[in-house]
């Protein structure tokens, strides 16, 4: 399953004491189903903010986001949580795995949140570990895995429920270039295989160029590169 992403006139500002910082100043965005889109820009330009809005983790001050026909602004907090679980897979810069759970268990958690359980869930998670070549690390805790391994586990976790939209925030930003390359390759291959719509926020121009489309966020506005 795949979805389109349509964002219109997104505004988002933060308060820093007395100062009001406008991060997004009317972002318009259309991503076709199955596309892999890179969002680049300098640090502090609001790339992550945009990703958080698209990922239903935050609400814009104004503007609308429609993902696969679902208008996020019309949803209540509980509905947004369910939407995040069912429709969006997140990959963060710092992996953000649950420290008290093994690699396999981390992958299963979104499934448990969705109400799945038992051997089916387990075998699905194991299958993903096979795909990313981490079968022998399934019982290891995050602290026992390298950065690249953790990011691969995070990728598996994001894709467990086969969400139609994958959002990655600097997925290689915290990795050695070589490992980052491998992880990105893996992300692209899994995204292509599943036909998932994906947005990758990055400041790595090499990685951005390998995405089908590159958007630049500058002064709170998104430009086609």
């Amino acid at each position: 399953m795949t979805v389109s992403v349509v964002a219109r006139g997104l505004f988002k500002a933060y308060r820093d004491g007395e100062r009001r910082i406008e991060v997004l100043r009317g972002v318009d965005l259309i991503v076709d189903p199955g596309d892999l889109v890179a969002v680049v820009g300098q640090s502090g330009t609001g790339k992550s903010t945009l990703l958080h809005l698209l990922g239903a983790l935050d609400r814009p001050d104004s503007g609308s986001i429609v993902i696969g026909g679902a208008d996020l602004s019309a949803m209540k907090a509980e509905e947004l949580a369910t939407f995040r679980n069912q429709a969006i897979g997140f990959v963060f810069q710092f992996q953000e795995l649950l420290a008290d759970f093994t690699a396999l268990e981390n992958i299963m958690i979104p499934g448990r949140i969705a109400g799945l359980r038992g051997p089916t869930l387990r075998s699905k998670a194991e299958q993903l570990l096979v795909e990313v070549g981490l079968t022998d690390r399934s019982g290891h805790f995050p602290s026992q895995l390298s950065g690249g391994e953790q990011q691969r586990v995070a990728l598996c976790r994001a894709l467990l429920l086969e969400p139609p939209l994958l959002l990655a925030d600097e997925p290689t930003g915290n990795l050695d270039p070589e490992i980052g390359e491998q992880v990105f390759e893996l992300l692209v291959s899994l995204q292509k295989r599943r036909g998932t719509t994906a947005l990758v926020v990055t400041h790595n121009q090499d990685i951005a160029r390998r995405c089908g489309r590159v958007l630049t966020l500058h002064k709170g506005v998104l430009h086609e590169s």
Binding site: L57, F92, P110
Partner: protein, 397 residues
């Protein structure tokens, strides 16, 4: 040690899995461990103190009730005259559950022997000695005095005493005391809770002392609950008679005992309440240390309710450990102290030579449910902090 199945991610309820893992990982943090120990330990101490104090109180109250009830008729029926008393007695004796029904006449007076005189409660009875005179119950008709009086006055069976009524006879020369001279048949066991000495004498002698009025029928069924049922039937059958049960006759005492127990329960429960506050702090500390993970769970779609339940389960699990430990140790100690009578008392001061401990199911149940409910409520209070965290806000820290 957590059972494997309980912590299995693919099977067990998610909230339980998360809570147990957080509890386990909290052990690595010395602050969390310390606060958890204070909270769980405090609840355990509170439950332990509740179990022990309620068991001791129940033991004392039970002994006291026994001491009083053995000297209280199960049912006492007040009737206007001897004829009515005989009719009620015969009707009662026709009931299969009634063991005995005796006509009595009661009043106050004095007993005198060789210049010594003492106020007494007098009960005249027909037939054998009623069961409310322990040690002499079922013995032949005659005069029975308390063993303490017999001991003080050195009274032996067959010695003659004078019994005077508090109701004088009016004569042309003025009021004259009504006095009968009777030979002592034997003695019965006096109770430490009795405010005044009692004596039992034949009904005919009592009629001589008090006249032909104030008759009461004493009824025994052998079972306190059966007695209550019989009394209810008597009341509905005959509205003219006044029926008092063992409950009515000791109502004030039973109320005082219940009140004492309730106050003791509330006072000791304060320990659990203080421990519950520590539990709230502990949960807050765990939440602070797991803040980012709460954000990750939120990003993965965990609802506010899931997060709330996770930390409620976590707090309740800590509470459950405290309650279980406190209850087991408290109950075991109460049983051992009761069984082997390890806490001795001076029998001359108290009516018992040891502190009795009695574990009552109702008390244990009340302690367990109350302590666990307080823990769960404290957990809920703490868990709200986690549930109110917005995923993004939690992820940013």
């Amino acid at each position: 040690m957590i059972p494997r199945r309980l912590g299995e991610v693919s099977r067990a309820p998610l909230e339980l899995v998360l809570a147990l893992r957080y509890l386990k990982s909290g052990r690595k943090d010395s602050f969390v461990t310390f606060l958890s120990a204070v909270a769980g330990g405090g609840i355990a101490v509170g439950v332990f103190a509740l179990m022990l104090s309620l068991a001791a109180l129940a033991g004392f109250q039970s002994a006291l009730r026994e001491e009083i009830l053995v000297r209280t008729p199960e049912i006492e029926v007040e009737v206007p005259d001897r004829g009515a008393a005989a009719a009620i007695r015969d009707r009662l004796l026709s009931m299969p559950e009634v063991r005995s029904a005796q006509i009595t006449s009661q009043g106050a007076g004095w007993i005198a022997y060789r210049g010594s005189i003492r106020p007494v409660s007098i009960l005249g009875y027909e037939g054998t000695v009623p069961v409310i005179f322990p040690g002499a119950e079922g013995r032949p008709n005659g005069l029975y005095v308390t063993d303490s009086l017999a001991h003080t006055w050195n009274l032996e069976p067959g010695e003659v005493v004078e019994v005077a009524s508090s109701r004088p006879t009016l004569t042309p020369l003025g009021p004259q005391p009504r006095v009968v001279r009777l030979a002592v048949t034997d003695s019965f066991l006096s109770g430490i809770t009795e405010q005044r000495d009692r004596i039992a004498l034949p009904l005919s002698a009592a009629e001589g002392l008090f006249g032909y009025s104030d008759y009461r029928v004493l009824v025994e069924t052998g079972d306190l609950d059966t007695a209550l049922a019989v009394a209810t039937r008597l009341r509905s059958d005959d509205h003219a008679v006044r029926v008092s049960t063992w409950q009515d006759l000791n109502r004030a005492l039973f109320f005082a005992l219940r009140l004492e127990k309730a106050m003791m329960f509330l006072a000791v429960l304060l320990i659990v309440l203080v421990a519950a506050l520590a539990l709230v702090s502990d949960i807050h500390l765990i939440i602070a240390s797991k803040r980012k993970e709460i954000g990750i769970l939120g990003a993965m779609g965990a609802t506010r309710r899931t997060i709330l339940r996770t930390f409620v389960v976590l707090g309740a699990a800590l509470g459950l450990v405290g309650v279980s430990v406190g209850a087991s140790v408290g109950a075991s100690l109460a049983w051992v102290l009761g069984r082997y009578q390890l806490l001795r008392l001076p029998a001359s001061i108290y009516f018992l030579d040891h502190v009795p401990f009695k574990l009552e199911f109702g008390d244990v149940f009340l302690v367990l449910v109350t302590a666990f409910t307080i823990s769960a409520l404290a957990a809920g209070l703490g868990a709200r902090a986690a549930a109110n965290l917005r995923p993004l806000e939690a992820l940013r820290r």
